[in-house]
């Protein structure tokens, strides 16, 4: 398949692995920021092929995982209001709120919830069901926000007034700043998210590289892309450089997509945002501006965002910070599995716990065995 097979080519992969091994002259620790990185590294089998000197830890870039329990509780409240109809991304469907209830549970009780592929599908649902209040729980980073913003603009243009977004949108740089401020993390490099970078531009990581003396390399999700990014990183680390490099030049520019950013800032404004496991981070979220309040579920509906209560024993917070790995969690693989997840990192197909569980040879009966 074009644009896929080239980037999974076994010979090229072998060649790049050789190059990476040669370039890796001392151990280093890198954080792969994005959940898709984590999944791709496991799914392609790359994890077992990398030089042992490279330690990869997963970062906070899984949009479902970092959605706070209080926001999930608010989504559940919206679903249960009379006359509402939720249009949600599939990954949100099984994420438990504070008391373990999921959107799947409330749908089984009669709430109207549809799984959609984009906010535009939600808008279409609103058009088709004019007597219902169709709400799209907006989650995700800079990659998804423009699409959801576009649905708000389209709703205004088309005078669809029964469509609303509950914005819990987040931006990537503030949590990275917050995480990197913690010396316990101790990382040498950052594998920066490919798709987010196509919007914010590689330049966005410049302050991180400078302030924390970090090698920041933008990379995407095919095996050869990841290897290419790690080679760039290994070379920087060898040479003592801490720079921003772009390993995804086919989609990412230094400046990013100014048009998408302008559209987002027309509709949204920065706000303090609660992250699962990381707490509230100043200016890390996006709220819908006053002039678009008619599309803001939070201002139109009587919903309260309760205080978050994390499930007892769940280490998702530490896992999202990269300071713990899933097998260290007492719930992992025993009480918390993809079938009955307790924390969000197990629910999302991009979640770190899910990746470890699915591809890492962990299950109830063989927990503790080595991964392969």
């Amino acid at each position: 398949m074009k644009y896929v097979d080239e980037f999974r080519d076994p010979e090229l992969t072998a060649q790049l692995l050789h190059e990476l091994t040669t370039a890796t002259t001392r151990p280093f620790r890198a954080m792969e920021v994005c959940g898709t990185h984590t999944m791709a590294i496991f799914r392609s089998g790359l994890r077992g092929l990398l030089p042992p000197e490279i330690e990869l830890i997963s970062g906070p870039g899984c949009p479902v995982c970092v959605t706070s329990a209080s926001h999930i509780d608010a989504f559940l409240q919206m679903a249960e209001l009379p006359g509402t109809h939720l249009a949600v991304f599939g990954d949100l469907f099984r994420v438990p709120g504070s008391n373990g209830t999921t959107l799947a549970h409330v749908r089984a009780q009669g709430a109207k919830i549809d799984i959609v592929y984009s906010a535009m599908d939600g808008l279409e649902l609103a058009r088709q069901n004019p007597t219902e209040q169709v709400i799209f729980p907006g989650i995700g980073f800079e990659t998804t926000t423009p699409g959801i913003g576009a649905s708000i603009l389209a709703a205004r243009q088309q005078n669809i007034d029964n469509f609303m977004v509950f914005s819990t949108h987040k931006t990537m740089i503030p949590p990275l700043m917050a995480l990197l401020g913690d010396p316990a993390l101790g990382i040498d490099g950052l594998l920066c998210p490919g798709h987010v970078s196509s919007i914010i531009g590689a330049a966005a990581y410049q302050p991180l590289a400078e302030q924390y003396h970090l090698s920041c390399v933008v990379g995407v999700f095919e095996p050869t892309d990841i290897l290419h990014a790690l080679i760039l990183m290994a070379r920087q680390i060898n040479e003592g450089r801490a720079e921003v490099e772009n390993g995804y030049t086919r989609a990412v520019t230094w400046e990013g997509n100014a048009r998408a950013r302008a559209m987002v800032s027309t509709i949204f404004e920065p706000v303090d945002m609660e992250w699962r496991g990381l707490g509230t981070i100043e200016g890390s979220g996006l709220a819908i501006k006053e002039e678009y309040a008619q599309f803001d579920a939070l201002s139109r509906l009587s919903i309260t965002v309760p205080e978050s209560k994390e499930p007892p024993g769940c280490l998702c917070g530490q896992i999202l910070k990269g300071i713990t790995t899933p097998p260290a969690c007492p719930l992992f693989g025993s009480r918390c599995t993809p079938s009955s997840p307790i924390g969000p990192c197990m629910v999302s197909s991009e979640g770190t716990c899910r990746a470890y569980f699915t591809y890492g040879n962990y299950s109830e009966k063989n927990l503790g065995q080595n991964m392969i």
């Binding site: 398949m1 896929v4 999974r8 080519d9 076994p10 992969t13 072998a14 959940g35 898709t36 496991f42 799914r43 392609s44 089998g45 790359l46 994890r47 077992g48 092929l49 949009p63 479902v64 991304f89 599939g90 990954d91 949100l92 469907f93 099984r94 799984i115 959609v116 592929y117 599908d121 989650i139 995700g140 990659t143 998804t144 798709h195 095996p223 599995t337 993809p338 079938s339 197909s349 991009e350 569980f357 699915t358 591809y359 890492g360 040879n361 299950s363 009966k365 063989n366 392969i372």
Partner: protein, 342 residues
């Protein structure tokens, strides 16, 4: 009498057991599906004694949408149950057909499904010998639910089961995987993709009988049709029930380009997508090439490929050798596959 059918939809009356029911039976079901046994309209079908042991299976079909490229709920109901019999090495003999219809179902839709059932039954040479119809009020079912049960005969010496796989067995997949699952998922999501996505709904018993006839007795150890949960889940079940370790190779597993592309877009793994016309065959290593040739000689198995091996006795783990030479563990499907945010 014809007046009972003049409204274009199914009414509760059609399930009453009264005149409307009889009208539906004679003008629709018997017209298309009638045969000596079914048309007698007895309370049960009596089947002549056959040599061998009896295989008996049942399955219900609730697929949404009811029509899709490559088939419909009717073809699935026939092929699915035939395949369940075939996977034990049975020669399918007869099927039952029970329909639960939602009030308001279009009669034209029902007739289209019945014609599909007729064609699938005729093509497979497996007759429907008994049936039942119920109608439930609107909203109490989704258009049409179908249950089919099947009886087949297992010949002397044929012992095929998930627990009979042996170390060294070669694993053959009869064709490309994920065709049915992705067709249904894209339809359900209202996603139109260019390219020819079609369900693989197909009966496999003829191919299985040819394999049984052409291979030494006892050399086919396990057959499974990887329906819901896909190839991954079926292999995990086989590995689990046989207490064996299985290794498969990604590059040997046939996946059509359209299916791969759709999976990339929707964030799905074809290993977990349903198939409705494919089987996994675990055969003794010395007959693997012969089995492959036999399968490839049948239209059902034209794209068959040896995808893996049973490597050793163990905890029932399935591993995949990835295209780039890495290894990862394959786990059974957890919950329904859902589309991802990114």
């Amino acid at each position: 009498m014809k007046d009972n059918l003049s409204p274009k939809t199914i009414l509760l009356d059609h399930g009453s057991g009264g005149l409307a029911s009889q009208e539906l039976i004679s003008t629709l079901f018997l017209r298309h599906l009638g045969n000596k046994v079914l048309s007698a309209l007895e309370d049960s079908a009596v089947i002549d004694n056959q040599p061998g042991r009896i295989a008996f299976t049942t399955d219900s079909y609730v697929v949404d949408p009811i029509f899709f490229p490559g088939g419909d709920i009717g073809t699935l109901a026939v092929h699915g149950t035939i395949n369940d019999l075939a996977m034990r090495g049975a020669r399918p003999l007869v099927l039952s057909l029970a329909l639960i219809l939602e009030e308001g179902l279009l009669l034209t839709d029902l007739e289209r499904i019945i014609i599909s059932i007729r064609d699938a039954s005729n093509d497979s040479n497996v007759a429907i010998v008994t049936g039942d119809t119920k109608v439930v009020p609107r909203g109490k079912a989704d258009k049409i639910f179908i249950n089919t049960s099947g009886i087949g005969m297992v010949a002397e010496g044929v012992e095929i089961s998930s627990s009979r796989a042996l170390v060294g067995d070669k694993i053959i997949l009869s064709g490309s995987m994920g065709d049915h699952g992705i067709t249904i998922m894209t339809r359900r999501a209202g996603i139109t993709l260019t390219g020819d996505l079609r369900s693989d709904s197909m009966a496999l018993h003829t191919m299985v009988q040819r394999m049984l006839a052409g291979l030494p007795a006892g050399s086919i150890h396990t057959l499974r049709d990887p329906t819901r949960g896909g190839v991954a889940t079926s292999l995990c079940e086989i590995a689990g029930s046989s207490g064996l370790m299985i290794e498969i190779e990604e590059r040997r597993i046939p996946v059509r380009a359209e299916v791969r592309a759709a999976c990339e877009i929707l964030g799905l793994d074809p290993l977990y997508l349903a198939n409705e016309g494919k089987c996994l065959a675990l055969v003794a290593p010395d007959v693997a090439d012969q089995a492959l040739t036999l399968m490839q000689a049948c239209p059902e198995g034209a794209e068959a490929s040896i995808v893996g091996t049973v490597t050793s006795v163990g905890s029932g783990r399935v591993t995949l050798k990835t295209t780039i030479g890495g290894t990862r563990v394959i786990t059974p499907l957890h919950g329904a596959p859902l589309p991802r945010i990114c």
